[in-house]
Symmetry: C2
Subunit: 613 residues, 2 copies
């Protein structure tokens, strides 16, 4: 594939490159913060520049080099190797000749139907001998890795001092520090309370952390399916999802070309990539669940670990004796992986091979540092089925598996529901913390009612914000198309923005230090009629601007001291300014509040960061 | 305006009539349930017919005659007089020659700019002598009015027996009955815990109830403004909003033609109409807040009471001494009414005329049964300002005013915020219950973060669902255009559906008997691949169907036993069916769950209702 004469498929890829959305968001500048211990670290952040005499607002940036005007993007080459030297310096990995790609890996796609392999194939890395090369193993050994320092800097969003103001929030027993230090990260990982999904073969990664004492993260699902979608769209969707804030991306592809599409995604992804290996294994046995074997599954794990998949959803908690517990459910088993394994167990009248071989799965994961996302195969698919016997039986098993994985130094987080009415959400969080020994929780929503298909990003954002507040570490997005069809590009964006706002609402409610800074900045902009700042500071500047311009398209309206909602006479904010002006003259009225002046001290000085050129 | 020769403006109205969306929702049939005590009552409900052997699902119906194919709709004539005989039978009202409409009432609009008066003008009703004609007065006197029986039947959604199954919910101390009886309604109103907004001059009304022990309601705001919008759009928006589920509508018009537009809205509205009379009063003094007087305001109250406005937002809680409390706020005063009154107080260095004349306001309201929506003029407009001194000082004053209004037999509910992070929402509900003596709470959202303009229907739906769960009786919708511009028709629909799902999520969490029926029906449809039923049972069947058809447009896909999200091999629900089939053959597996069979007994038999022809 590296000859000068391009194939038709390669030309198609070239065209695809043009589709990828690059460039900064409005008024935004990429900065990179260097590490203290590991000087070479370049931790990306986004600074939103604001008018008036306000300091720029620094926000978490999951978008990778795509929003850096100085970065050259070529998806045929993939992103730069961030982590190669870190891995070499640890001295516990070796390259080797990886497993050969088979026709089955790509669903026997041939000719024009075969998506081309990613051009730059690197030999895979694995641990030397029986060494565990996981962040958990290093943390337990007292080692602060570059990955740990990277996420520590990242979590502080440019803040360099401990938060000294009163903390405003209710954290339900979480232990959120005033400043995230690399040592704090190490401790949290060592205790299993946080995970850095970072396969040693995903060297393009910008590490991030998932844990209750860190910022709430969100995941976006992408993936082709047997019915529709293509590889090109999927790479674009990954970039698109991270542009708007997805912290991890799950590739849930089924059908043909799974292997090659995944390669393209990982090589171009700055965020951790998760998969459900069972999907590909099922394709290898032509979609017949009963024909699945441990051998096929094991082979698939190695295949994906070599490619650099950062976390595996493994439905090892679905056990034979639990299947009858779902008999009276309104919606049965709604997890794809869960239903496949239930079918397998029942057909063979045997315990699940995932459960029986779980220790062997750990052996694979520890060699590459693939994190476990222990799948909730029996999650409820309707309000009626929430918090039932089947769901909690599985959760207890996931707790057992967590201990087994931890014993082998593997990183673990736990998947959760699903469909749950509001009054039953807290019990999910409480039981998860108890049964799974504080391993991070990662939920899908939950949806708080079943009656609004077409709006399930909203029914689920309600549950997601709440469980995020209660302690859930990562929220898997739901798009407006949930239950109805495949999400397109707009749906992906809507889902990501909706989940970013839910995660942020949770951060505010938990009292994360500094989380409210962005809210305050946008509120000041609103009060001072700085329309451009209001757009630029919002999660989706494009939509905010478009909505404004629908009613008030003229440029003059962007500096107007009123808005079309009320008109000039009824503008409460304009009147508030009049009141303050009047009050300033009058006696007995408090001085106008001092401008927010702490930015310079509390946050990283501009000269200590490396701006994107 | 009643001559045979039509003016240009009248012709314009005729064209408008065609714009009104009428006709039933998909697979839906209007039924009317008769009263027991008041036999002539026709309480509307919507039955959604479902495939298979399932009973139809009866849902609350706020849409009025517009969705009844048997009803003749002519917006020039308005809706039928539902309540005239009820009012006459009480024998405590009289017609009189109402206040003459002035040019000021319509903002001095003239000629082609003047929206024509509603053609069929009825002489207004008022109480005889000093009689209070409020539902509260009747309730205290032990009288169960037709309005009370109407809402009792309506709240049960066709259920005729007390709920006998275990109640699934957490109600935070509410007292939700197993069956809503007219006597229960009377008691709740007598205690001030519920309100039926029902001006005696709004005879077209289909009564509804607002209270913590009833279904959570939603309000939609409409209204023209000085900058844009027209009367025609507003009538259409009212019908449109109620079609999708708005339980009340607030007409927040400013600018010209306020009087005439409001007449058109009320005469055509099946739901209670609320206003902020201060807006019109301000127009009458040319938008100069300082020029407002009690006389102008009082005149406006009478004008609107005669037209049939069902509830007034009165910002009487904003007092002079509270204004300095807002000095250090990030966003000052964001309520239009609040800021106008604050400006007036400060300018005149006087206590608010609304506060000083509150008893006189009560005298007016009791003669027409206009309910109070005591305005939260100092609600927070940003996360930073939530739950501050100003906000809670006003809330305490609203509690005082509640007692004054109750002493004059006036119905009262209380407005609430606004912008509040999740961890501060419950305190709002708790303090409101305490300070306002359990008068119903009515909140705007609250928005749980400030950073997502363009998505504030979602940031606020999170807070709305939560506070609805905690006990808030009515949720004022927020559209995607909040903070950015004026909502159009699509925005109104999005806002209403979003708030319907939030209110329903709250009903589920509170454990309202039967609330889960619709969820269960849609979930069974989903599990059984009854796509049409899934669309028809959803809050927005059109969007659900459109989203499905984007991926799977063919009719065959509507009967497909899989969906495009997963494809046939990966369909968990299909596999679940396989599992059940396999298990049925095998031993030791529970029998498949019996179909839901209680509909016939628990709900009103089909022969006891009057179907729409």
């Amino acid at each position: 594939m590296s000859t000068e004469t391009k194939t038709a498929a390669e030309n198609a890829v070239d065209q695809t490159a043009a589709k990828i959305t690059t460039g900064p968001l409005p008024a935004s500048y990429k900065i990179y913060v260097h590490g203290q211990t590991h000087q070479s670290l370049r931790v990306p952040m986004r600074q939103i520049h604001v008018g008036g005499d306000e300091a720029p607002v620094t926000v978490y940036d999951s978008s990778g080099p795509y929003t850096d005007p100085a970065a050259e993007i070529n998806i045929r080459e993939g992103l730069a190797d961030n982590r190669g030297t870190w891995l070499q310096e640890r001295g516990d990995v070796e390259t080797y000749e990886g497993r050969a790609v088979t026709d089955a890996d790509n669903g026997f796609a041939k000719g024009d139907k075969l998506v081309p392999a990613f051009p730059q194939q690197r030999a895979p890395l694995r641990a030397v001998g029986d060494k565990a090369v996981t962040q958990l193993a290093y943390a337990r050994a007292g080692i602060v890795t570059p990955e740990m320092e990277f996420v520590a800097i990242r979590e502080n969003n440019g803040r360099i001092k401990a938060w000294e103001k009163e903390r405003d929030g209710h954290d339900f027993g979480a232990s959120i520090p005033d400043l995230v230090t690399p040592e704090f990260v190490r401790q949290e990982i060592a205790q299993g309370r946080a995970v850095i999904p970072a396969n040693i073969n995903h060297r393009e990664l910008e590490p991030m952390i998932i844990g209750r004492n860190f910022l709430v993260k969100i995941n976006a699902n992408i993936g082709n399916s047997a019915v529709t979608s293509s590889m090109e769209e999927e790479v674009d969707k990954m970039v698109w999802a991270t542009r708007w804030g997805a912290d991890t991306v799950m590739d849930l592809s089924t059908g043909r070309n799974i292997h090659n599409i995944r390669d393209w995604i990982i090589r171009n992804s700055p965020v951790p990539i998760g998969t459900v290996p069972l999907y590909q294994a099922l394709e290898k046995v032509n979609g017949i669940a009963e024909d699945l074997t441990w051998e096929v599954f094991r082979d698939t794990l190695i295949e994906q670990a070599e490619q650099g998949v950062d976390y595996f959803t493994i439905h090892a908690g679905v056990r034979l004796h639990m299947v009858p517990m779902t008999a009276k459910r309104v919606t049965g088993i709604v997890s794809r992986g869960g239903s496949i394994m239930a079918k397998w167990c029942l057909h063979h009248h045997r315990e699940s091979f995932l459960y029986e071989h779980f220790e062997e799965i750990c052996e694979i994961c520890r060699r590459y540092d693939v994190s476990f996302s222990l799948g909730d195969g029996l999650r409820p698919g309707s309000i009626a089925d929430a918090n039932d016997e089947a769901q909690f039986a599985e959760l207890e098993t996931l707790g057992e598996l967590t201990k087994i994985a931890w014993a082998r130094d593997c990183q673990v987080f736990i998947e959760g529901p699903g469909h749950v009415a509001m009054h039953k959400i807290k019990a999910n969080m409480d039981k998860q913390l108890e049964h799974c020994h504080e391993a991070p929780f990662y939920t899908l929503g939950p949806l708080t009612t079943d009656i609004a298909p077409g709006y399930d990003h909203i029914t689920s954002a309600i549950g997601a914000a709440m469980i995020g507040w209660y302690g859930c570490a990562m929220l898997c997005y739901v798009t407006p198309k949930e239950h109805l069809g495949l999400p397109d590009r707009d749906d992906v964006k809507t889902g990501v923005i909706t989940y970013k706002l839910a995660a942020h609402a949770a951060d505010l409610a938990k009292g994360h230090p500094g989380a409210q800074d962005r809210d305050d900045a946008i509120s000041r902009a609103r009060f001072e009629f700085r329309w451009e700042d209001q757009f630029n500071l919002s999660l989706d500047p494009e939509t905010a601007r478009d909505f404004h311009d629908e009613t008030m398209p003229k440029e003059a309206h962007k500096v107007a001291h009123f808005c079309s909602m009320c008109g000039p006479k009824f503008c409460s904010m304009r009147i508030s300014h009049d009141i303050r002006a009047e009050a300033e003259k009058a006696e007995g009225f408090a001085k106008m509040a001092a401008k927010f002046q702490e930015g310079g001290e509390l946050y990283i000085p501009a000269d200590q960061v490396e701006p994107a050129e």
